[in-house]
């Protein structure tokens, strides 16, 4: 009887150690899955947002009466990336969690004659908080679209 009792106690110890070891492996696997799965999901959303913004920028009329007009144009593009709308209503949620217009960079590439040839749209300094870890994206995702819109050097933004 004493012998049986000892054996069961020993086995309980085994089970505890096995649980501890396997739980450590399992929990880290689950954590990794959640972390990478969510980060990839957000990155995919960013790629889509940046692509849509780039396409909008490419087709949009480039008005350049003054530097304020160029800046207003960029603001419309940033809003398109973040909200899917060039003039969003106040309080609209961004398409990608916690993305702000300041985290979108719009750069025009000009040709020799001073006309816009292409537009670069990229994400700068965006951090994904994936519960078990953080990922910071800066300079990516990025797109370059050719400018195919109307060039209006003497028009002002409405």
């Amino acid at each position: 009887m004493r012998f049986i009792g000892q054996r069961r106690a020993r086995q309980r110890g085994h089970a505890m150690i096995e649980l501890a070891v396997s739980a450590a492996v399992m929990v880290s696997c689950v954590a990794g899955t959640v972390q990478f799965g969510y980060t990839f999901y957000v990155y995919n959303q960013l790629v889509t947002a940046v692509g849509n913004g780039g396409r909008y920028a490419a087709m949009r009329t480039y008005r350049a009466a003054g530097s304020r007009d160029i800046e207003k144009g960029k603001e419309a593009i940033r809003n398109m990336v973040v909200f899917g709308d060039s003039r969003p209503a106040t309080g609209v949620a961004p398409q990608v969690a916690y993305l702000k217009p300041e985290q979108v960079q719009v750069d025009w590439v000009m040709d020799e004659s001073g006309k816009p040839a292409a537009v670069n749209v990229s994400i700068i300094d965006y951090t994904v908080d994936a519960a078990f870890g953080m990922f910071r994206f800066t300079g990516k995702p990025a797109v370059e679209y050719p400018f195919v819109g109307r060039f209006a050097p003497s028009e002002s933004e409405p």
Binding site: I4, R7, R8, Q11, A15, E18, S22, M26, C29, G32, T33, V34, F36, G37, F40, Y41, Y43, N44, V47, T48, V50, G51, G54, R55, Y56, A58, M59, R60, T61, A118, K140, P141, A142, V143, E144, Y145, P146, V148, G149, R150
Partner: protein
């Protein structure tokens, strides 16, 4: 009697763990590998969209226009695989009249599979993308 039953239970955790591990790898594969595949597909699609637009904007009915269109596509700096790999084997095709539309295909973006390989998945998965753009698009944005 009791002692013998305990003896038979030995190794159960090993079997349970190995089954759980296979399931776990499959779940991780779904999250990680499919995540990367979806991103690569999206990146390739955004690239071909921009490339088709760049090519179409250069078309003017001449062979020189076709050359300029091909150069415009080659010049695009966009990358895939989380923004690390440049596109290879990009195919640019044009309408027979050389001025209506351009089609860009990015055919061989092979995503390397990490976890699903362990449960019988293929070593790579190709996500092609293609886009067509008209040289004179209908302008919907002002």
């Amino acid at each position: 009697m009791r002692v013998r039953r305990h003896k038979n239970e030995r190794g159960f955790v090993l079997i349970a763990m190995s089954v759980a591990m296979v399931v776990m790898l499959a779940v991780m594969g779904l999250a990680f590998d499919f995540g990367r595949i979806y991103i690569a597909h999206n990146e390739a699609q955004v690239f071909t969209d921009a490339a088709a637009m760049a090519a179409a904007s250069k078309l003017d009915g001449t062979d020189a226009g076709l050359d300029r269109a091909r150069q415009a596509v080659a010049k695009l700096p966009m990358r895939w695989n989380l923004g690390t790999k440049s596109f290879s084997g990009v195919k640019v095709e044009f309408s027979p009249d050389k001025q209506s539309w351009a089609r860009v295909t990015a055919p061989d973006n092979q995503v390397e599979i990490t976890f699903l390989r362990a449960v019988g998945g293929p070593p790579t998965f190709t996500v092609p993308a293609h886009s067509v753009a008209a040289a004179k698009p209908v302008r919907l944005i002002e």
